[in-house]
């Protein structure tokens, strides 16, 4: 009896990896009446039976799985990627050029828009850098509020990563769970700053606003409820055969390669390098917080997932400690070089009014100098490099974009893998095109 069969490739990758370090895939045959037969895996290392011309396939720039306007030109041999040529620049807006024509506080809105999933974290990073350039110290309450802001922002960014990666790999439920929690964080931001996505929360020398009454209670509620969602996603994915099969042994970077390619953040730590800017070049008193740096061992997509999920938990720990130590006091520095005078004095006192006018119209002037201040953004090491010539506008404002450098290794990571794995590897980099193209 002749039966029409169709071969379905199913990854049962928990079984292990083959000699070339790729997950073992077991093909299955499904007959018409639904009987499933598992075939022997094809012998590896032999020449392919059919030789044909290579095919070019173009992913993006408008494609949901490229997480923005990224274009990948792939040269395929059958289904295997022989070469990958990434094209970027579709979202280039010239942020660095515009920054040279703006006062320091006027640049902060641009930092929202570059890595838009981490906008408040960028605001914090910018202010830390600018304050070092001005030689200004901020009060302790401001420092702790910035830690809270940066860690909430890390949680948002990782949640978006988790949700979108699950969508890319065919799982819809964790996307809904993670985006629901993300809404909670955005509600917190909204009640603090008034904006959800483009926060512009900091100023040079302080914050745009102190937290409102009762805000810490909302945050405590979030800290209590949020780990349950992380645990649910963890239970759903970490030991899920499909998830493990589609992520293990893909896009492997060894520790030495990862360092040499300049990878940072979860990408670097998944490869087994325990480098975290918060620990190694601390800022915002991160050395006084008790948290762990998760480190992977294989450097594949699965380890990057594990690292990011663990970072969600560690961020919650940091948030708890920051809430417990949140001191009272002012949020803005009293350094008159960067801060506006109080409004009632500006309206009643001539000198304060002149001071207010000069601060707004001319802008604060840093001394001649340059700083590069790296911070641990959710994507990796983000650094703002300022060069000042003593005027109110920076000579050079450079963003060291972590996902730009991470993405530059994509050709190395995808070559030799299957076309469907390109999506998984690209998702694991956690790119934000706003930051890459700037």
């Amino acid at each position: 009896m002749a039966t029409t069969t169709r071969t379905v490739e199913v990854a049962l990758g928990t079984a292990g990896v083959d000699a070339e370090g790729r997950a073992v895939r077991t093909p299955m045959t499904v007959t018409e009446n639904g009987q499933v037969t598992t075939l022997e895996p094809p012998a590896m290392g032999t020449a392919p039976e059919l030789e044909g011309e290579h095919m070019l396939i173009n992913i993006g720039p408008q494609h949901p799985a490229t997480h923005g306007v990224l274009r990948l030109v792939l040269e395929l041999d059958g289904e295997t990627v022989v070469r990958c040529i990434p094209h970027i620049g579709y979202l280039h807006c010239g942020f660095e050029k515009i920054g040279e024509y703006r006062q320091y506080n006027q640049v902060i809105p641009w930092t929202d828009r570059e890595d838009y999933l981490n906008s408040i974290g960028n605001n914090v990073a910018f202010s830390i850098g600018a304050e070092r350039l001005f030689g200004v110290e901020v009060p302790p309450r401001c420092t702790v509020l910035r830690v809270i802001a940066a860690e909430l922002s890390r949680i948002i960014s990782h949640l978006v990563w988790l949700g979108t990666t699950c969508i890319d790999l065919g799982a819809f439920t964790p996307f809904l769970w993670s985006f629901q929690e993300r809404e909670n964080v955005y509600n917190l931001f909204e009640s603090w700053i008034g904006a959800r996505l483009t926060t512009t929360a900091t100023r040079v020398g302080g914050m745009a606003a102190d937290i409102p009454e009762g805000w810490t209670d909302q945050l405590r509620h979030f800290i209590r409820s949020f780990p349950k969602t992380v645990d649910e996603c963890d239970r759903m994915l970490t030991k899920n055969g499909i998830w493990v099969g589609r992520t293990t042994a893909l896009g492997v970077m060894s520790a030495d390669e990862a360092i040499n390619y300049g990878l940072s953040g979860p990408m670097l730590r998944a490869s087994g390098v325990a480098y975290d800017v918060r620990k190694d070049f601390p800022y915002l008193d991160y050395e006084t917080y008790d948290f762990d740096v998760p480190v992977g061992s294989n450097g594949d997509v699965y380890d990057r997932y594990l690292v990011r999920v663990e970072e969600l938990r560690q961020s919650t720990r940091i948030l708890q400690q920051a809430l417990d130590r949140l001191p009272d006091g002012p949020v803005n520095t009293d350094d008159h070089r960067v801060i506006l005078p109080p409004k009632n004095r500006a309206m009643s006192d001539m000198e304060s009014m002149i001071h207010h006018f000069k601060q707004v119209m001319e802008g604060p002037r840093p001394p001649i100098g340059e700083v590069y201040v790296p911070v641990e953004s959710p994507k990796g090491e983000k650094g703002y490099y300022f060069v000042s010539d003593g005027t109110a506008k920076p000579v050079r404002w450079r963003i060291r974009p972590p996902s730009y450098v991470n993405l530059s290794a994509i050709s190395k990571m995808v070559e030799g893998h299957l076309l469907s794995d390109v999506i998984a590897i690209n998702a694991s980099i956690d790119i934000v095109m706003g930051e890459i193209d700037r």
Binding site: V73, I85, Y372
Partner: protein, 233 residues
Amino acid sequence: MTVPFSPVLPGSANPGAPAPATPRNLPQKGGEPNPTAALIAQTFPALFVRSEVIWGDTNVYVHPHGVSEVVRWLHDDPSQQYDYLSDVTAVEFRDAEQPLEVVWHLRSLPHRRFIRLKASLDKRAPLVVDSVWPIYKGADWLERECYDMFGITFTGHPDLRRILMWESYREGYPLRKDFPLRGRFSRAEQLRQALSITTEGRYSMEELSVAQAFEDLPEDMRRRLAGGERTGE
């Protein structure tokens, strides 16, 4: 699966060193320099120009023709181990007399050190400097961006093309100070150029191995490829 695994720990080269802390009250000038700066001056007296400490970071100026030699030493010398390239960028000052500076931010993970290497390029001569790509693969896109934005040629870079701007971009180098914020061309000319771009022609035939078989392709496919269309359709 029990595989012995030991992560790479930053700061492991000097275990007795104090734990890093948030820098406070940094002086604008002066302070303790990175010990590497003095060693560069000692090892490369002909290439070293000067060094300074600014807001706690050490700047080392070297001659542009010796950059790859110094960086190679910083990367390979067991007492230095600057294994991580954070950033490659350039700075052009508003004062037209001042030279253009190329900046490398290097980091030693084992020693937990940071150094900023600089090379001054005379703007009247061609802007050429060594590529550090043979040492750090991560320099690939960073140097391409620097070329794209400033027009600096990195000798030894394998694939120095524009990266953020498109390849037929003719207005110059956007981050140079003589480049106006709105661009050089009029809006009408910018629009005309944008409309005349072959959007599918953004990769060159030569960078794809299908180009080697170009002559064997059917005539209509060759015509479409030469016009910038993609294959496989």
